[in-house]
Amino acid sequence: MRTLLLFLIALASWLVSACSTTPQTRSTYLLRSESQHESGPLQVGNEYLGDVKVASYIDQSGLVLELADGVVHVAKQHHWAEPLRTSLRELLSVEIAAATGRSLGVPAKDGTRVEVKVSQLHGDADGNAVLIAQWSLSSTEMTQAYQFNQNLALEGTGYAALVAAERALLVQLARSIAAELK
């Protein structure tokens, strides 16, 4: 009986010591547009944003680093604040509207449908952010497809710099789309 009591005390002590261990810090990053819009009515355009697809390896909460060719690391302590699909859709909508001067509309038969597929969005071993995406403009008359492939060196080190560089690349992508819509 005494032996059992000692075991329980030792277990409790071990558990208490485990709880006293400091947990690893975890950072979350919000991918949002930094464009400044004035308050007031915004003209609604004939174009609308359709599907925004992301590659499976980045369709998760952790940020992704490419350590070597074909070797990726999903960060355990650095996460997106919301699913990347949601963030990308929101950011692209805002940036396209900012570039064209008119808000994206709702789906319509005679409208121009914008579809984006992000194949790669990560940081590489050379300290760059990489964005490779395909996008298309579809209407009742025609469909045109485009490719976006840009690297941008990080301004500093750390995941915050990576997020900033990826945001900058996504803004460039949005402006490319807006240029074709004008």
Binding site: Q24, L67, G123, L154, G156, G158, Y159
Partner: protein, 538 residues
């Protein structure tokens, strides 16, 4: 003493001066008789049909309303078929008695076209003299029964119009050129040699220059209504020609001006404008087209066209030849004689053009050149002949019929439609109409029964209540669906829940991977290696 000569006694008897008086009187008498005889005008004989309004010693002879003579005697002619009026014409008017001088009785006349001579009702009838243009004196004349419409010697030209029937053209009717009166019909009669009605026409100067050998005259009396392959055509002249009749002349379309004609030339009087326009060309070529289909509606004069361009006319349907050949070929095609005129298509109206057309047609038949019957007017059912190329037609060569070249025919348009209709009717006739109608009748009865049942069902009170409940249910369903729409709160709540579920699944996924890496992570502190730092050397 003075001797006294013895008196000489003249015993000769001398005529007394007193006798001069009767001599002078005699001379005067002789002179007066001679003068009277010399100053007396000639007596002319004028033959009339009757002595109506003519009285001896009373009826005057006038020229331009000046008295130039008087009827001295009226007697029956030797053949007792007329009368002879002996007219004493004044000496100073004897120069009017020439050839072509005309006499007629002026009396009150009421005709269809005019009323004349009303002045004679009070002053009495008289004989009008119209001097002729000859130079030889004449003493025998045949008086006119009616006043001449044209004064003798009037400038112009006299023509003869020949017609197969009298129609509605009468003496006194107008002759028009482009609607303007340029002459008149002076008389009419029947030419028993030519077996035609002859009209005497006078064209006043200067319009006589319009007459040449190419002009054609046609009857413009009344209203001409004709139905042909070109449709219904109405032709009218002026109002007086509609009421009283008349004649017009013109060059046919496409005809050249002919040579001048002499007075008294004969012209054919066409029945109407359309017939006048036919065959204005001198050179033409005849072809025969044989048709196996009905020719009802195809009349002589119907146009022959090439893609809508008139190139000729149907001359006649050679029915007589068919009947003659009937004992040889039963059901043989019926030949139609057509005339193609090169001048109609703008070619020179020459024999060379005819040869050119002949050569072209002969060459074209091997390339599918065929003649076909087409409907000219749905209103009248008139047909015309169309010639055109049919590359798909069976190969054929030019034939010959009754000594004339024959153009092969093909059935298009009407004939093909007719065949299709017959084929359709044959198929329709084979349809089991009776059985179908019986089935339809059964189906209709069943449908009627169903409708009656539905009517009873719908009229049932419970059914009506059920309907109201269904309407309420539909309204509620619509309300529910509105809440489930993307704009509705339920949908938005659902979307939020799905988002949270995805997040939970993502966390669960991360937990799963953590446990895979470190199975005791649930109870032992987890210490992952630090993430590589972007932008730094790994």
């Amino acid at each position: 003493m003075t001797d006294i000569a013895a008196p000489t006694i003249d015993t000769r008897k001398r005529l007394s001066v007193i006798w001069m008086i009767p001599l002078v009187a005699l001379a005067l008498g002789v002179w007066m008789v001679v003068h009277a005889k010399l100053s007396e005008g000639p007596v002319v004989e004028i033959h009339f049909a009757t002595a109506e309004s003519i009285e001896a010693g009373k009826t005057k002879v006038r020229y331009l309303n000046v008295e130039v003579g008087q009827v001295e005697e009226v007697r029956l002619s030797d053949d007792m078929k007329g009368v002879v009026a002996m007219v004493r014409v004044d000496q100073d008017a004897r120069h009017l008695l020439r050839e072509e001088t005309q006499f007629w009785v002026v009396r009150a006349r009421v005709g269809a076209g005019n009323i004349s001579g009303l002045g004679t009702l009070l002053g009495g009838a008289y004989i009008e003299l119209s001097p002729g243009g000859g130079t030889v004196e004449q003493r025998n004349y045949v008086g006119l029964e009616t006043p001449p419409l044209t004064p003798a010697g009037a400038p112009g030209i006299k023509l003869n119009l020949l017609s197969e029937h009298a129609g509605s053209v009468n003496t006194g009717d107008s002759v028009l050129y482009n609607g303007y009166k340029v002459g008149r019909i002076e008389g009419m009669g029947f030419d028993d040699v030519l077996n035609l009605v002859r009209y005497d026409v006078f064209i006043d100067a200067p319009f006589d220059t319009l007459i040449n050998s190419s002009v054609r005259f046609w009857n413009i009396s009344g209203i001409s209504v004709s139905a042909s392959a070109s449709g219904v055509e109405v032709q009218t002249g002026s109002l007086d020609t509609i009421l009283l009749g008349g004649v017009a002349f013109h060059l046919p379309d496409g005809a050249d001006i002919g040579s001048p004609v002499e007075s008294g030339a004969d012209f054919k009087l066409y029945d109407n404008f359309a017939s006048m326009q036919e065959k204005p060309y001198q050179h033409s070529i005849d072809y025969v087209v044989e048709f196996s289909q009905s020719l009802r509606g195809l009349l002589p004069g119907a146009p022959v066209e090439y893609r809508g361009i008139p190139i000729g006319t149907v001359t006649r349907i050679m029915a007589a030849e068919v009947i003659a050949d009937m004992h040889q070929k039963n059901g043989a095609p019926i030949p139609v004689l057509i005339t193609i005129e090169p001048g109609r298509v703008g070619l020179p109206d020459t024999a060379e053009s005819v040869e050119l057309i002949q050569q072209d047609v002969a060459d074209s038949v091997s390339q599918g050149f065929r003649a076909s019957l087409e409907i000219g007017s749905l209103l009248t059912g008139s047909l015309y002949i169309n010639v055109d190329y049919h590359p798909d037609a069976e190969s054929e060569v030019m034939g010959e019929y009754a000594g004339r070249a024959s153009i092969p025919s093909i059935q298009t348009g009407l004939g093909r439609i007719e065949e299709q209709v017959i084929e359709f009717l044959s198929k329709a006739n084979e349809l089991p109409v009776a059985e179908t109608l019986k089935s339809v009748d059964t189906m209709v009865n069943s449908l009627t029964e169903t409708l009656r049942s539905m009517d009873e069902l719908l009229s049932d009170r419970e059914m009506q209540q059920l309907s109201a409940e269904m309407m309420a249910a539909i309204k509620e369903l619509r309300s529910v669906l509105t809440g489930l729409s993307p704009e509705g709160p339920a949908f938005q709540s659902f979307e939020s829940s799905v988002g949270k579920l995805n997040e939970t699944l993502a966390n669960l996924d991360e937990l799963t991977r953590t446990l895979k890496d470190q199975p005791n992570a649930l109870i032992l502190p987890t210490k992952f290696p630090a993430d590589p730092i972007p932008g730094a050397t790994y």
